[in-house]
Subunit: 371 residues, 2 copies
Amino acid sequence: MKFQIIKEDTTGTKARVAKINTHHGDIETPVFMPVGTRATVKTMTPRVLREVGTQILLGNTYHLAVRPGEQLIRDMGGLHKFMAWDGPILTDSGGFQAFSLTKLRKLTKNGVTFRSHIDGAIFEFTPERVMEIEKCLGSDIVMPLDHCIGWPCTKEEAKQAAQTSIDWLKRSKDYELSAHQNLFGIIQGSGYSDLREWCAEEMVKLDLPGYAIGGLAVGETKDVMQEMIEHTNKVLPVEKPRYLMGVGTPVDLIQAISRGVDMFDCVMPTRNARGGGFFTWEGKKQIRNSRYARDESPLDDKCSCYTCTTFSRSYLHHLFSKKVEEILGLSMLTLHNIHFYHDFTKNIRQAIMENRFQSFMSNFLDTYQGT
Amino acid sequence: MKFQIIKEDTTGTKARVAKINTHHGDIETPVFMPVGTRATVKTMTPRVLREVGTQILLGNTYHLAVRPGEQLIRDMGGLHKFMAWDGPILTDSGGFQAFSLTKLRKLTKNGVTFRSHIDGAIFEFTPERVMEIEKCLGSDIVMPLDHCIGWPCTKEEAKQAAQTSIDWLKRSKDYELSAHQNLFGIIQGSGYSDLREWCAEEMVKLDLPGYAIGGLAVGETKDVMQEMIEHTNKVLPVEKPRYLMGVGTPVDLIQAISRGVDMFDCVMPTRNARGGGFFTWEGKKQIRNSRYARDESPLDDKCSCYTCTTFSRSYLHHLFSKKVEEILGLSMLTLHNIHFYHDFTKNIRQAIMENRFQSFMSNFLDTYQGT
């Protein structure tokens, strides 16, 4: 995997445009990665994902190990072939889900044992086992098992979780992945800036192809989140991609980009869509609102996606209305929201390239309602 | 509306290929019309409907009058614009739903009064009121309010329902629709062949642009259904399109086509898809069946649809599996099933054109498992 910086911001921020070269194609950053938990970005076909500008998507190790099982996916030719997505894929480690979704989990130095949230079957995730699963999946970017700790936690707990994550990362690095796969480190440290810096320093020593900032968007304030990003990025090498996990709103994204983050994933555009929420350059809105019942305009008149060039708010409001609740509404809002996130990061890349990122960000933050 | 017979079968059946010319485009018959009850063919976008070969689709007067209301649709520019389908649309009368879905309905000579199945609001459907609704919707082919009677029923009940349908059709014909709209008559008569013939004779006197055979697929045997089709078609004029309402399986279709039917609608391909059922040239199958868990082949290896050229049965089985149940599975099986129905009727048209319909039908019935 190659990471090449194309352009650094000249207007006073740490933002940059870069290109990541993977076995399954190139990625221009800053990039948003739609979440395809169970080998599908909910409601979306691969061709529609391409159409709206998806460059790389995320699969979920935990969910895929539970259903349909990584060996089945391996036998079917790997995750790319299985889900018919020939672009790059990043798989998370399942650590977050093992800690957040499951019951009766038991944490040891060796890993985490838990019962699946689907049928109660017992799983044991060790760093090596998670690598084995992700090798079966065949993803391009591979996240290691880490200890993602809840919020709030004591400094001692945060330190212990970070230490565990460092130890497990070392063991993960010793596992031999396929040649095209790239292991990232995941920086932990909760809301403690010195722990963040220490954890980053330890992980940078391993000279990995990229680094993720984990354990954020778990309940801390926006200020704490951005502060942790800033402290972590101070330590992370400029010449490696930085991935902020599970974040976030458009405002979160642009602020993190200004602090030097390159990659994002979040269920926000997809999950919001299924609840009737849609993103516009003026902020997030709710299609179920009765004001849209007779609104002939598109979701966002600045948007060029299929949904906006085809359907009115009135029609989409009908699809989402009580006792109608048509699936087409879910897929059309999902299409639009993913397009919006991609269009947003594309506009950011252009602004950086054209030496106007700072003013672009100010204008955006002035116009966009919400956090 | 023009109806032009292109080719009559030369191999001993009543099958024919024809072209219907409507304000919103041409239709080649025999044709299958996907059902778009609430202004959406469930899970499908208009562009995908075009891609799989949809020529005309069906909207539902009853459902649209209840939600979002015909006046809203009229004010939004009519049903075509509202749902972004620029091809021909047929709207049924809502009579079937008024009789089958609702409670507390009261039938008088003037029409039917009922409470909506959604919120209990009281609706009164008279022949004129139904025409008014369909005028608001702006469909190309308009079905009149009829009395669709259940199965079984006495001859006296069947006669009365047919008489009511004739009376209401006359009143419907007196209503002034928009210039591009075409009213069909709906032949009733339950399983009584003499009533069918009499009802058809009475309606043919009105010289309408087309005729439908209603009140079938309500519980009678397949033999009775085909017998009623044969008796009705004996009376219906050759030079007008014949539409068999709410039917059916591929076997039903080909047999009805051999008896001179031109148009069909049915929820079978779409509803089955959402339950995991998929159609192939060998019969209907169930994707949830565990035999498909590791099956790398497409749903039907004779099929050229997006689903079959993109995804394996294994992947689709995963999408439909318990506790996964991903929406993409519903839309991909729906796409395939509608494509199958269109491909099936296209093959029938070709066979008729090439003077080999009889052998095509024999081969199909030999190969296809099920009724």
